[in-house]
Symmetry: C2
Subunit: 231 residues, 2 copies
C-alpha cells in the first residue's frame, strides 16, 4: 500500500488538552453523576454540579470539594463547556428538551443507560430513537452530542480509598473533534483511557451492555468495567 496520496493518519492517542474546560454534570447528585464529578474535580477539572434543586447541587459540590460548585440544571448547562448527562432515563427527554437553548453549541456527553429491572435482573429497554444518545442528538440539534462513561462503577468512583479505576471509556459520536475531546476528558481520571468506539447509531448496545455488567457483578461480587484489548 502506498501512502503518498493520502494525508498522514492522525495518531488516535494524540488528544487535545481539555484541562481548561468547565464540565457540567446534569444529574450530578445521583451516584453516577456524583462519582464522575468527584473524579473529574479531583483530577483538576473545573466542575459544575447540576440538579433540579440548586441547594442540593451545592451540597453535593461541597461534599466533593476540589472547587466544584453547584447550580440548577439550566445554570449548570449555561456555565459549562462540556455537559455530562447523568440523569435517569425516566425524564431524560423532557429535561434535554427544556435545556435545548442552554446546551446549544456545547459538547454534550450522554452516559444514560435505559434499563428495566424485574425478578430476573436487568434488561435493556429499546428507546424509540434507538438509544438515549440518539434521543439526545434528536432533541439537541445545535449541540455536539457524544456518548461515554456508561460502564464506570459509581461505587468505585465514590470510594475515596480507590485511587485508580483501571477501565476504558468507550466514546461514541459523529465528529472526530468531539470524540477526541471526550476521550481526553476520560483520560484525566487516573486509570482510565478514552477509546473511540463508533458513531451514535451504535450507542444502543454500549448503553445496554450495562445489563450484562450487572450480571457479572452479581456472579463475581465485583464492580466490573471493560478494557479493550490489542490497543
Amino acid at each position: 500500500m502506498t501512502t503518498s496520496e493520502k494525508p498522514p493518519v492522525k495518531d488516535p492517542w494524540e488528544l487535545p488538552d481539555v484541562s481548561g474546560l468547565v464540565v457540567g454534570v446534569l444529574g450530578g447528585t445521583g451516584p453516577q453523576g456524583r462519582g464522575l464529578a468527584a473524579r473529574l474535580a479531583a483530577a483538576g477539572q473545573r466542575v459544575v454540579i447540576g440538579s433540579r434543586a440548586a441547594e442540593r447541587a451545592a451540597a453535593a459540590a461541597e461534599e466533593i470539594g476540589h472547587g466544584a460548585v453547584g447550580a440548577d440544571n439550566a445554570e449548570c448547562a449555561r456555565r459549562s463547556d462540556a455537559v455530562i448527562v447523568a440523569v435517569p432515563w425516566e425524564g431524560h427527554g423532557e429535561l434535554l428538551a427544556a435545556l435545548r437553548e442552554e446546551l446549544a453549541g456545547k459538547l454534550v456527553i450522554n452516559c444514560v443507560n435505559p434499563l428495566g429491572f424485574d425478578k430476573r435482573g436487568a434488561y435493556a429497554l429499546k428507546p424509540a430513537d434507538g438509544s438515549a444518545a440518539e434521543q439526545a442528538a434528536a432533541l439537541l440539534p445545535e449541540s455536539r452530542v457524544t456518548a461515554a462513561f456508561h460502564h464506570i462503577s459509581a461505587v468505585l468512583m465514590l470510594d475515596g480509598g480507590v485511587g485508580e479505576i483501571p477501565t476504558d471509556v468507550l466514546v461514541l459520536g459523529e465528529k472526530r473533534a468531539d470524540t477526541d475531546a471526550v476521550q481526553a476528558l476520560a483520560a484525566r481520571i487516573p486509570g482510565m483511557r478514552g477509546v473511540f468506539a463508533g458513531r451514535l447509531r451504535n450507542a444502543h448496545q454500549v448503553e445496554a451492555l450495562v445489563a450484562n455488567l450487572i450480571s457479572v457483578n452479581r456472579r463475581y461480587k465485583a464492580h466490573a468495567g471493560l478494557r479493550v484489548t490489542d490497543i
Copy 2:
C-alpha cells in the same frame, strides 16, 4: 448479612472439566468458525468441522490438524456434544431449523453477530427474536442454547504466530451448568477466560457490540477484544 441460612455460594471460577467433549463447529470453514476450531483443536479438544459440503469441511480439518475431522453440518451436529454455531446471520434460522433433531440435547454455543454494513461502517441489525441467540433458542427447544465467542478476532485466531489471545469470552445462557461448561471451554484456549454475562435476553447487545469493535479496529489499526475488569 448472615449467611447461615443460605447454601454456600459456588465459586464462579470453579468450572467443570470439558476436555472430553467433542466440539462441533457449524460454519467451520468460515473465518470465525475455522479460527475457533483451530484454537480448540490445538488446545487438545476433539473437533468436528461442519460445512454444507463435507469435502470442504474435510479440507479445512486437514489444514487445522490436531485430529480435527470434517463432516457435513448434520453429521457434525450428530457427532458432537457441544456445537458452536458460526454461520453467517443470513441463513442462520434456516440451518438451525433443519438441524433441530440433530441438535436435540446438545450444548449449542451461538457466536453469530447480526450486522449490516454501509458506507459509514457496521451497524447492528435487530433480529425479530431479539438476537441470533434467542432465535436459536426459539428454533431449538430441545437444545441447551448459550451464546459466546462473539468478540474474538478471527485474524488473531488464524495467525499461527499468535500464541495467546488475551481476551475474555462473554458467555450468556439460562442454565448455570451450560454456561459453566462454555466458560470452561473458552478457558481451554490460552489467554482466554470465560466470563458469565447474563441471560439470553441480554444477548443482543453482546452480539451488536461487534459493530463497535469494528470501529475500534479501524481507528486503532487493531484486532480488538474485551477484558472485564475487577474480576
